[in-house]
Point group: D2
Chain length 299, copies 4
């Protein structure tokens, strides 16, 4: 098939724009193919995992994750501890401040402001989270999975994908919960609460095992990617996989590893539909989400 | 100002989506700011250069460049020899074939197919170009700038941004014309034709000098970026600059150099509005172009 | 000071070569400065953490880590679950096979071979690890930190940095132990063993708190980087920091975040000596290690 | 073959260190293989091209290039206009100043200092070059190739690889001579001098054609890479190729294109020995050069 340059017109739907990119090349074509696979996995009733690494919440992606949960595009979430904590920063009303990467970090330190590239968060937000989590941690007992802890938290807040996930019984796994400020709070305030990640592995593996068809949308690699893929080692492999990353394969790390490599591990089925988009998720995710909305919800 | 997660809805215009990204972070915010600067430079009647490196034509971006010329969004183009040649591949009807990066290159060599990442071009296309250029080169005389040569070529084809640029008297500079298969043809077929790039420098410098306001949209670095920026060394510096690149500053090359660095050279004015988007141009360019159409042409 | 091009001569010591790079630019200069800071932190008796992400063990870096432990260059290690597991693959004699990134992954899957970029590991290695870990997990009781578990494992093997660390009482933290095949084994074989990462946080924080001077050598970002840096939130910040990464700051993730950004969080002291080298650790680490050997051990 | 972790010892030769990396993985292994291929191409009397892009001269790599010329490791050079100009900055004694990427560019502009990532060059250096080139340009006549111009310049300076190349009759091609400040000087001062790059193509093609065996060492992509590779379109393809780059294949540009892709174009022979090292050239080049010295000159 020939490369065909898109005809771009005022007012065209984003889904039409993206469809037209499927006859281009490089990451535009990868983006178009990724969007199509995302739609296909939902339409074919696959059980879909969304894995989230990188500072997606500070970067303003929370409403999209919420929308994906509420539209039932995704059936489970696996995220980093930092994204959990920063979602609390937003849901509890502290928010993140728009800033610049070219700012004096020593002055920020003096002002109790912490920088995440071009976004700032005030220390007071972490104090607020500490107050909020203190009671929850103190009053929760026993060995539980991170997904249980996140539902408890989700049940106590509004306006958050954590709440939507709780409401709709969408599991949220946080295998690096301790690798965040919430980890410090767990250390300080837990009475006899222990996060037991083997419970996460068990539940995750069960979900993989029970799914007739399964898909995974990977934002940015990290533990969420590996933790979810490895759950498939005991099952049959994903049927669909989309990966959005800025890491390269040739440095050998798992975050940049190709989905082809994942097939050698049987984490993906041999015939799985899979595509990687080499792009900042903050650009690719809103486009793919709107594409899914237009293709699934509006037709 | 606070980070605000976008509210994404079916059927929203791409310009509304992009506007909403200006309150996010990382490259989504950069993209939104870049789109706004592109609109502003056109609305404020800046003389706008578009520089093109990377395999943009094989990747299907030619209609967008054509649209930018015909909508008078850009006033001059500076491109690589390869993009000129591959535009001829398209305009003369040979086209590029959609393929995959995971294909056997030795078998391609046996089949006279040449690979550009996930796109193929047949040797017969280059034979076709050779026939087409042979006469033009043979019949053109004297020392001329590359921009004169490209207008001559543009006058002899249809359905190409080269033709649109010729029709609308938009100069197209090709400072690496010889770094392409056309260079081989120039060597073989020119009688007394010489491409004299000092004429390019002179004309380019004049354009920079005469412009009351000036802007530059940089796709991918390379010679087109540097050649255009250095023309400003003799003038006052650009007022607006947008750069879309996948190169990083920390490797020290000019392609990845920040626009801040360009201010130390006075290639940009001190108060210039400038933003870099770290993204594959095949994704960012269609979005920015549609944004410009919606903001400039439809209002 | 002027840039000075190195005078390179046959038989020069690697430390002389690297010293000469400190008057160059870009990542050569960064590498030279990193090597110097590594020497300085050891000579000044800082408590030094080495954090390890990326597939460093499959890539053959284990002897270097062992050497760093045995030479007392480092006082604590924080690594990923995968590096722990692959160290067992090596220490138990299974090893990793040299391969290529351009190999058919479906055929590998059929041959029970799993690919890590250009290295392969046979499924039988994981079966061997399972047998080895089964007893250890079954016979270990209570809630323990990952560092306790790794010492137990280290006490039962030879020829491994895990054993050297056990012998020399160098703590090894593995905050993503469950994010590895060992996690599956923990799920299957633990009787009443729970890995309680709040114990890791507590011990790590104590180490940070007690250190008069402290340093960190970061290989590749990920959880090991963040987990160690965040331990400093309760202490005073690192005095020295060296980061070797292939991630870029401009995508906003923590793995690529600059050490300047870490100062805004007070994870580094304001006056900390810190440098990032943008380079594959497999290249930079052997050079820095040999530099340290020559500067610290041979003088 | 199994991955074997290097045994690193004080005082080991850099060539032994690099040899030991050939049984590791990722870019350490790539580096070792590249060094071996470089030695092999010299030992087998291949005609070797060195192509230079990126700011290698500001970064202090000039002595290495000089050493490669004087040791007859390379038989021709293809470089960017910027590297030619900055070699004059050094050879004429102006030099480059060591600086930082975190410096105020507006203040630099006020101080007539121009930044190249973490290196500065004073405007006075360019004035010095202008004086130096003015006479040469004025007194040179006719249509000449860039290689002729660079030899003329080389004949008039000392302490430069330009002089060494002139002395030893090693051709230096500069296909983007006009894409540099020297281009402005050519525009201003040439009487009837024209740089005719078809002469470069002709000479380069002849060199490719006449070589019984041929090799290429590519630093950083750009026009030098493509211009040299395309010369092989009329000959039989390179026998050896080593590429050191920080660009990735998956963005589709020629700078990041794999050497496998070059085989589809027949720019490399099918059986060519070829390897890409994903690394900053400022790190990889000194290592490879010292390796070559130790393996070729000291044995």
């Amino acid at each position: 098939m020939k490369v065909k340059s898109p005809e771009i017109k005022v007012g065209m739907r984003i889904s039409d724009l993206i469809d037209s990119l499927s006859l281009t090349a490089f990451n535009a074509r990868r983006l178009a193919n990724a969007a199509k696979i995302c739609v296909e996995m939902v339409k074919n009733d696959a059980f879909v995992f969304l894995t989230i690494a990188g500072a997606m919440i500070p970067a303003g992606m929370r409403n999209i994750i919420k929308g994906m949960v509420e539209n039932r595009f995704i059936d489970a979430i696996v995220l980093t501890g930092a994204n959990f904590v920063h979602e609390l920063v937003e849901a509890l009303g502290f928010g993140h401040e728009i800033s610049s990467p070219y700012i004096n970090d020593l002055e920020l330190a003096d002002s109790s402001l912490n920088r995440i590239y071009d976004v700032l968060v005030d220390n007071s937000a972490f104090e607020g989270i500490e107050k909020f989590l203190e009671d929850i941690i103190f009053q929760t007992h026993g060995k539980i999975g991170s997904y249980e802890f996140l539902w408890i938290v989700g049940s106590k807040i509004e306006n958050s994908f954590l709440r939507s996930a709780y409401n709709l019984k969408v599991p949220i796994f946080c295998p690096t919960l301790h690798d965040s400020i919430a980890g410090l709070h767990l250390m300080i305030y837990s009475k006899d609460l222990t996060i037991d990640f083997t419970k996460d592995i068990k539940f995750l593996t069960d979900l993989c095992f029970e799914a007739k068809k399964s898909g995974i949308i990977i934002l940015g690699g990290g533990v969420p990617k590996n933790f979810t893929l490895q759950a498939m080692l005991l099952a049959e492999g994903f049927d669909y996989a989309v990966q959005i990353t800025t890491d390269s394969p040739h440095f050998g790390g798992l975050s940049g590893a190709t989905l082809e490599e994942a097939k050698s591990w049987c984490k993906l089925k041999k015939g799985a539909k899979a595509v990687t988009v080499y792009c900042d998720s903050t650009i690719a995710l809103p486009l793919i989400y709107l594409y899914m909305l237009e293709k699934i919800r509006s037709q």
